[in-house]
Structure formats: C-alpha cells, structure tokens
Amino acid sequence: MENQSENRDPGGKRPPNNSSGPGGMPMGGGPPGRMPMEKVKLKNSKETILRLWGYLGKRNFMLIAALILVFISSAFTILASYMIRPIINGLTEYAGTSTLITNLLIMLGIYLVAVISSYLQTRLMLEVAQNALEKIRYDLFDKMQKLPLKFFDSKHNGDLMSRFTNDIDAMSQMLSTTLAQLISGVTTLVATIAIMIYTNWFLTIIMLTISPLFNMFTRAVSKRSMNYYKGQQKAIGDLNGFIEERITGQKVIKVFNHEQQTIEQFNELNQNYREQSFKAQFISGTMGPIMGSLTQLSYTIVACIGGLLCVFRGFDIGGFTIFLNYSRSFSRPINDIFMQINTLFAALAGAERVFEVIDYPAEIADATDCVNVENIVGEVILKDVKFGYNPAIPVLKNISVTAKPSQKIAFVGSTGAGKTTITNLLNRFYDIQSGEILIDGVPITKYKKAFLRENIAMVLQDTHLFEGSIMENIRYGRLDAADSEVIAAAQTANAHEFIKKLEYGYDTILTNDGANLSQGQRQLLNIARAVISKAPILVLDEATSSVDTRTERHIELALDRLMQSRTTFIIAHRLSTVRNSDMIVVLERGEIIESGNHQQLLEQKGKYHSLYTGASKLD
C-alpha cells in the first residue's frame, strides 16, 4: 500500500509539506520502516540501467517523450510563476488593462502547457512502467520454473519472495515516479536559479548562501535523531521479541500460573521502550517546526533585503514578489533530489537482485543423443553411485541397488543419512558425480528430462496441493485425464469416500495448501495424483510420517494398491511402513550398512533390529 499512495501522485507537485521532516518522520516515527535509508552498494549500475532500458522495448520512445514532457512542465511551471513579475510591475506602473489582460492570458497559457504536459507525462510513464513490470515479473517467474532444484534448496523462499514483492515494488516506484521527479527537481532547481540570477543577482547570492546553511543544520539534527532511533530500535526489538515469545507460549504461562511474573517482565521492557521512543520521536518531531521556521526565516531575510534593495537600488516590486515566492519553494527541489536519489539506488539494487535470478544458469539441457523410447518398464539400477551437494562432501558413497520391475525397495536411516538424496538423483533434480543410474538399462542422462520425470511419480511427506478444486489437484498428475479417470484414481487412493462427503465433492476448492483438509486427507489426494500419472516408478518419501498410526493404516491400504505393478522406492522413518518391502536398505552416513528383507535383517540382529525393537531411535 505504501507504494500505492506514492504512486497516486506521480509527476512531482506534491503539496509542500512544511511540517514534515526529510523522511516524513513526524508522522510519529513508529518503529516499522521509515528509518533513514541505508546506503546501498551497486555492483554494476550501468549494465543494470541498460537492461532496464531493454525492458521498455518499443516503448522506450515513450519514456524519452515523457522525460521531455517533465522537462517542459517543470520549466513552464517556473516560467508561469515568473509571469507574476511583469503583471505586478504593470500594476504599479499603471500600464493599463490591455497589457494586464495580455499578461494574464500568457500566464494562463503557460500554466496550461505545464499542466497538460505533466499529465501526459504521467500517463506515458504509467504505460511504460506497467508494461515493463509485467515483462520483468514474467521473466522472473519463467526463470524460476527453469532453475535447477539446487537453487531453491540453497535459497530461502522468503528471499525469493522478496525479490518478487519488495524489489519489483522498488523498480515500479522508480519507473513511475522517481525518474520523473528527479528530472523535475533538477529542472526546477536550474530554472529557478537562472530566473533568480536574471532578476537580481545579489538576492540570488544571498539565497544560495543561506539555503545550504539551513540544509546542513537540518542534516545535523537528523543525524542526531539517527542515534536515538538506534536506541528505540533496540528497545522495540527487545519488547517485540518478548511479546512474540510469550504470546506463542501463552498456554504454557497459564498452565504454570506464570501470568504475574510475565506481566512484570513485560512492564520493564515496555517502560524502557517508552523512554527510548520518547527521545527518538521527540527529536524527529522537532524536524518539522525547525524546517518550517527555517523556510519562514529565509522568506523574512528575502523580504528585508529585497525591500531595502527596492528602496535603495530601485529593484522592481514584481521581481521582489517572485523572489518572495521562490524563497518558500527553493528548498523543495533540493530535498526532492536527495530523496529521489536514495530511492533510485534502492530500485537499482532491487533490479540487480532480480536480474541475478534471471541470469542464474537454468537446468542443464537434455543431451543431444537422447534415446527415444515409448515406455519405461521400471527396472532401476544404481551402480556405485557417489554424490554430494557440495562435491567435496559426499552425501552418498558407493551406493549400489538393483530394483526389478514392480519390486519394493525401502531406505531406512537417520536424517542426513542420504535417503531423500537418492530420490533427488533418480529424477535428476541433481546429477551424480560418479557411478551410474540405469532405468531399463539406459543411463538416466540419456532420457529427456521431461520424459524421465513423467515416468517417476512422487508422494512426499509434506503434502503439496495447489489452489483450485480437488478435481484439478488430482488431475495435476496427468492433465488430459477425464473426470471419470480422476474419480477412479481417487477410488484407488481411498480418497473417494471422504471427497464425496464434502459439501462440494470434487469441486471443493482447496485454499492455502489444502488447509481445509486434514493431513491424512491431503496425503490421500497426493496419492491419487500419483495414481493418475500412471508412472511405472514410484517414490514415497516419508509419505506417512506426519499422520497418526490409525490414519496411516488407511493410507497404507491406498499405497498398497498404488504400489502394485510399480517399481517403488520407499523412504521411511517409521519402520512399520517398510516391513513388507522386497528389500530394505539401511543407510548410515551415506553408506549402505545392511540390506535384505525384514526377516533377514531381524535375524542379523544389527542396526535394523535395534531400531525395530526401539532400543535405539532415529533422529
């Protein structure tokens, strides 16, 4: 919303806000946001600017036109205010009504040109900005789709999200207002100084001396307030941290009768924040009156010296009047320029972060000598597979496993043993460093990636559903599946029953990753999605570990049906799930330490046995 309210007033011309500090601080200067901006470092601003220019595409002439219009509108605005000089002088010299009317009409004309060009400029910039933003968003999204999984595993979703929101917002602001305001600020400043010199050089020198002096003064005050802001920031951090922790643990507080102690601790932090925030906000609150009074002071100085000049040097009253007006507005373009430069840098930094993603290398392309097969039967062989997310630190070492078509292979081991990594390798989310993975005797690198993945269905522990109807969510497994096929898949997955009981059945809209369903129900939908895909290879990664044992039974029935005639890899924490596998592989620190079926492993009395009897536990 922040960005919006700024955008509502593009093209400069904000009402002069006498009572507001440089960053609008007197509004109360609450802790969130509104801190004086930090300096941003740019890596290669020239290249970034050129790329942004490229995004304007054919509309770049519109941008140039808009910028010319900004120039015209600012220059004409200053010119219009200059017209007051001949008009007033005409009045004092009794030049006659016709001169006055001519002058007023000229003034009106200039005003109209200024306003119309300003309006046209904002319209042009709007088109330019929104179209460019759409393109940038699309490119960013498109790239995200093509990035290797490695990228997502190494970056927080929040970080990527913020590129989509904050960084693009910053760019949006730059395109729609910052550029125009910068040009308008500079034009206004230059034009004002030129007209002032033309009108009276002596007063100009005085204005040019006191303005920077005043600016330095306000800067000194705002620097001081920065220090107090740090104190306030620390205090609010402590207070909010405490609030967050205690409110999250509110039920524990109740259970332990700890309300009173908590209130006392809270009061201490609250009082501290009160003191700190008073200091910070008082200092920043004085910025308004100080700046306002300084403007009044320069107005008064101009009034005094200008008056004396009129008396002793024959300075014309018209010129004097416009000087009075300029003395009020002179500091505005300077402040504007400073502020806009800050946002400009923020936007360029945002653009750099966005382009960083767009430039990230996409997933490796398919090999040129890909095999063309119609169907996969489902024999999977891992031969001496070695892999590490960081090649120097292997996660899997010498893994060799053979799965015949429709066999069930289970992987058991602690977190970090490398179980999930194996599934990442099968569908080539990551490529192995040495060894071979063969499906139907062909190395997986020789299949087209899309083909390979179409043939491997996955059911993961975290149930991932999309916003949309249940029907659509199941159909995600095979987009051309008919409704009847979806229902059949749901039946196989044991999901049909609960879906039917929902008020809207298959048309029930899932929101928020299916928050309106239970964990178990979500998992059944995931299974249905795998069923419909008809992939001959199936990966179940902790598919039942977040549901209770009774629900698990229900899901297992569905899984049993799913696993028939599919080569299945099961990764499980809970051992009850893997008992019936054809082969159980126990992993530890990336190596196979035991393998065999349930009975064989129990007889070995090794790790599996101790896990199974609960003597040791996986973490």
Partner: protein
Amino acid sequence: MKKYMKYIAPYWLYFILAPLCMFVEVACDVQIPYYAGQIINLGVENGDSAQIMKLTAIMLVYILLAISSGVGAAYFATKASVNFACDVREDVFKKIQGFSFVNIDKFSTGSLITRLTNDITQIQQLVVMCLRMLIRSPGMLIGSIIMAYTINSQIALVFVVLVPILSIIIYVVVRLSYQKFVFLQQKIDELNSRVREVLVNIRVIKAFTREEHEEEKFKNVNSTLRDTSLTAYRITLLQTPLLTIAVNIATIVVLWLGSVALEADQILIGDISALITYLTQVLASVGMLAMIFMQSSKSIVSSKRISEVLDLDVELADGNNNKTVNTGNIRFDNVSFKYTHSNNEMVLNNISVDIKSGETIGIIGSTGCGKTSFAHLIPRLYDTNIGDVYVDGVNVKDYTLHNLREGVAVVLQNNILFSGTIKDNLMWGDANANMETIEQMAQWSASYEFISHFKDGYDTTVEQGAVNLSGGQKQRLCIARALLKKPKIIILDDSTSAVDTATERKINGHLYNDLKDTTKIIIAQRITSIINASKIIVMDKGEIEAIGTHEELLENCLTYQEIYNSQMGGLS
C-alpha cells in the same frame, strides 16, 4: 473511542498543551506573508527603510514564537502519544495474560502479536497526527482564509470558492479510484500467493514437469495485474493536474480582481503579493488534510482490532472456594464438551470416569479422538458444556484457577521453552527450588545426563524457539519443569514422542516409583509408553471405548488390538 479516554486522562495536560502550542505556531506562521506584504506597502512604496527594519523585526519575533511553540507541540505530542501507547500496550498485554484457552484459540497467536505490536504503533501515530497535523492543516487553511479576508473581503471570496472545489476534486478521485485500488490489492495478493505456491511446491512441479502449465496460469494473473494497475492509476493521475489547474486559475482571478481593486484604491500592491502566497498555502493544507484522512482510516482499523481484545469477556472466572488440591482424585461426571458454541458436534461425549489418587492412567486413540480435550478439562483450561469435573471431590469450577493449576501440572503437546537459561526454564515450575531439587527432577525426567554434557550445564542458554535443543531434549526439560511443581496430578500429553523407548522407560520408571502419591495421566501414541499403566483408557470419536489394563484390553477391545498389531506386529 470512548474507552480510550481512560488512557488519555492521566496525560490530559499533554493532550491539551500539544494542540495549544500547535495553534500558536499556526497563528504565528500565517502572519508572516502579511508582514512581507506590509514591507512592500509601507516600506517600499514609501521608501521607508526604517519601516522595513521594524517589520522585519516583527517577523523575526513571530518566527521565534513559532519555532518555540512548534518544538513545544512536538514535545507534548510525543509525551502524550508515547505514554498513551505504553499504557494501552500494557493493558492489552495484561488482558491477554488473563485470557482463557478459549480466548487464545479464538484469536490466533499471530493476530495477537500483530495487535500488540503493529496495531498499537498505528494508533500511537494516530495520536501524534491528531495532536499535530490535524490542528496544523485545518489551522493553516482557516488562518490563510482569515488573513485573506482581513486584507480584502471581496477577493477572499475566491478562497471560499476554491476550497470546496479542491475538496470535491480530491473526494471524487478517491471515490472513483477506491474500489479499483481495493481490487488492485486483491490482484497483487493473488499474484504473490501464486508465486509463493510455486516456490513451496517447486519439487512437485518439477517432478510432474508442469512448468509450462504453471507459466500459463501465471501469465493470466500477471497481465490482469497490469490491466488493473492501469485502470486504477489512470484515475488518480487526474488529481494533480486538476488541483493545479484550479489553483492556477484562482491565482489569475486574484491577480485580475487585485488589479481592479488596486485601481479603485481598495488594496495595496503588497497585499496582492501576500494573497498569492496564501493561495499556495491553501493548496498545501488541503492536500495534507486528504493525506491525514487516508492515514487515519488505517489507524481506525487498528484501534478496532485493539478494542476487540480489550472488550473481550474472559470466559473463565475464579471459583470462590479457597481449597487447594491435596490428594489428586479425579472424577468426570457425564461430561460433554465442544470448543466453540457454534460447533455442532461434541468433542467429548458423556464421559464418566473415576481416577484415584496415585494411579497411572494411559490414554490412547487416534488423532482427534478427544484425548487432549479430556486432559485439558482437569486443570480447567476449558469449561465443560454438560456435566462436571471434580478434583478431590470439589468441582473444578469452585477452585480459584491459581490453586487448581498449582495442583495440576500439564506438559502440553506443543512444548515451549522460553529464552533464558535451562535453570530459568526449570524454575518456572518452582521459583524457590534449590539446586538439589532441580537436579533430582532432571534425573527423573532423564535430562540430567544431557544437561551435564553441556559446557555451561544448567546455565546453558536456551535460544529463542529452543533451536539449540533437540526435540527429545526439549520434551524432557518440559517434563522436568512440570515435575518441579510437585503437583498432585501430572498430565503428559504425548510428551515423550521424540524420546527413544529406552529413555522413555527410564522416565516412566521414575513416574511410577518416585511419584506414588501423584496421579499421572499419560496420553500416548505408542502402546509401549503406557503398557504398564494401572488403567488404560481407549478413546474413539469423543467417547471412552474401553477402560482396563493392557492385558484386559488386549483380550476384549478391538480398537486396542488393532493399534497393538499395527505397532508391535512383527515383534511378538
């Protein structure tokens, strides 16, 4: 708004002085252009430099007055708002401390935190704005008009006409664009949630090779967003040019009327210059006012959200019996319970059960069967809808909450430790516990060993969210914390799920042997956790399906057999 009076009252002086100072500042500020006009009228026109110096001196006095009252206004307004917010925050926090579980459930944790942080900051800003800007902007507006009127009452009419025109322009633009911006915000949210969904589901998308499918969906949302932005902004773009042109025309009219009046000797040349300055001030003030209204509408939402918390009726009240819990007998008498009145189905149905002091009761059943709800009724975390719960023969509603909960310790499923040292956390159970007792309880909860492995032992800092402890360690510390209360009844709600069976056995051993006088209620997923309990309650769909020892249940409870087989199958 009325309820906020309470927070204003102690600081009434600040609340009066701040606007008063602001009023003085405005009164001084509006004088300045007038005196500049007088410099022209009296000084320049008459060639009187002494007059110019005299008028300059007057202006300087006004400026001095303006700045001191301006700083004064800032001082008092900050005092007022900071104190106001501090008190509101304290009351909201206290109120939440008094919340019952029902109240806590009603607001989510996240929403309570937002109310305590963002929302209070918002209304704090609103206070500052009311005390300062809400005085200043209308003050400058009215002041300018009054000054214009004293200069020339006829030309002042231009001002009187201009102000409504400016207001109408702003009003119409906001009115026309408001819905569009609400819609735009929806589209922005839609796009963001699309992106978030894709980020979260990236594995699935890649596994099913649905990249193009997702792109198609995104393309739609993306171009809709562009179109919506265009329509919304196109309207607001009109505002600035319209306002500017209105003021420009007014300037021309003032100049024209001024020249007419000048010829009729009704006005002096300096006055015209002053009038033009007042015109720009009018535009500035109207713009500011519009901004203030936009801002305050946001704050009003916040203030409503805060009063929602303050106005809430806390549902549980203390009983008027002074008794404390002494033995730990529990009786459920025909209890039915649901979390909210609007729910149709009961979570617990007709529960009647008698638990003797010192017994160990295991509770088992699938998720959602009511195990936790059952346990929560004992320390009166919730009130029953039908029937009553008795502890030591006294209805739980008759105890004071403090006394009841002193006697009943609960280890909640969602175990939370607070930042501070391990010792600090354990002492939640007993603020006066000595080291010996603490160590003993650490022994009993099987925490002793891992604590002594830490370099700083009991002084090890628990970081926020206890991220430096494993799940099992957290659970064991939570048990120790509850044991330190020396309760008559202890409830463990799935409290050993992350602990291996050997350790769990150790903990259970201490519970059975060292807490003979304490009633123990153990809710568990695994049969091994409760196999030795004196009684096991099997729950299903809010009802007690069976009660008995492990052996009895194995013989005659179908559900229990089913659970047993699924968990212990291959072992027997």
